[in-house]
């Protein structure tokens, strides 16, 4: 089971109301390479992955939920004082008429999250390579988001998240090596 902790993994400060940036950040909320996809992908794959790497998928999947909460906090803070006119100017008019200022699992283009974003092949190497690719794509998205804003507070939180993707990717690559070594042993004996 999971136990909620009433704190963010890393502080999220925003310097101004900026619904345009909020809309771009939705890519990491309900987008293909976003945090929801990441969390659900790893936590679903862990049931059938070899024991040696279950812990890693379990723990990275759990950390992704903390990242999802950080992104949600950014979106919430960036839009909470926005007028309907400001939301519309930022391209969030269609969002507003459907959800008011509630968050929704959709990408920056407004497409709702879908399970087709994630895969589970039951083949450990295939699954781990998907995970590595997902982390690299998330890292790239964070870089574009950092480049898109001049809000140094948002940049600070986004840089933290970008670095986490790099670490996750590295750990998944180590997991591949661990499984390859296991397979090698079986062949030798």
């Amino acid at each position: 089971m999971w136990i909620y902790e009433k704190k963010l993994q890393y502080p999220v400060r925003v310097s101004k109301c900026d619904p345009r940036m909020a809309r771009f950040l939705l890519e990491q909320y309900g987008g293909a390479d976003g945090e929801l996809s990441a969390a659900l992908r790893y936590l679903n794959q862990r049931y059938t992955i070899p024991d040696k790497v279950v812990g890693l998928l379990n723990d990275i999947g759990t950390e992704e939920f903390a990242h999802l909460e950080m992104i949600a906090t950014m979106v919430y803070k960036l839009t909470k004082d926005a007028t309907p006119e400001q939301l519309e100017a930022a391209g969030l008019g269609p969002h507003f008429v459907n959800h008011d200022k509630a968050l929704f699992y959709e990408n920056a283009g407004g497409s709702p999250w879908t399970a087709t974003y994630i895969q589970a092949k039951g083949d450990p190497i295939a699954d781990l390579f998907e995970d590595i690719a997902a982390e690299e794509k998330a890292r790239a998205t964070y870089q574009w988001l950092i480049d898109y804003t001049d809000d140094v507070d948002i940049q600070d939180s986004l840089k933290f998240l970008r670095e986490r993707e790099i670490v996750h990717s590295m750990r998944f690559k180590e997991a591949v090596e661990i499984l390859k070594a296991e397979q090698g042993k079986k062949k030798v004996f």
Binding site: I3, K6, K7, P11, V12, L56, D59, D100, R171
Partner: protein, 107 residues
């Protein structure tokens, strides 16, 4: 919407109470929370590292030391600002403290 507004006003940028005690959401709270976030970050990093390097004795020692420090920090934080976790993982004073703002996105 109205309820949200109230929660924001009560939670966001709270001033310290008149008797000088820090309250959840104020500057001292944010600073103390950051101390905890720092230690917890190191623990997340060490957890993932140990998941792929289970025989690294030095990392394991660091992990256990920080886990102990984390428990002390969290305990003194909770005494001042209320429970960080629930389902019985944190204590509560009367009345029930858990449901009270600020929630993390309101700070």
């Amino acid at each position: 919407m109205e309820e949200n507004k109230e929660a924001n006003e009560s939670a966001g940028n709270r001033e310290p109470e008149r008797d000088g005690h820090s309250v959840a959401g104020d500057a001292a709270y944010v600073a103390e929370l950051e101390q905890l976030q720092k230690v917890d970050f190191a623990l997340v990093e060490l957890t993932l590292y140990l998941d792929t390097h289970p025989n690294d004795m030095h990392a394991l020692q660091q992990f256990n030391q920080l886990a102990q420090r984390r428990a002390h920090l969290a305990h003194s934080f909770e005494i001042k600002y209320g429970p960080l976790m629930q389902f019985g993982h944190s204590y509560s004073r009367y009345p029930w403290q858990w449901y009270q703002p600020p929630w993390p996105w309101q700070v």
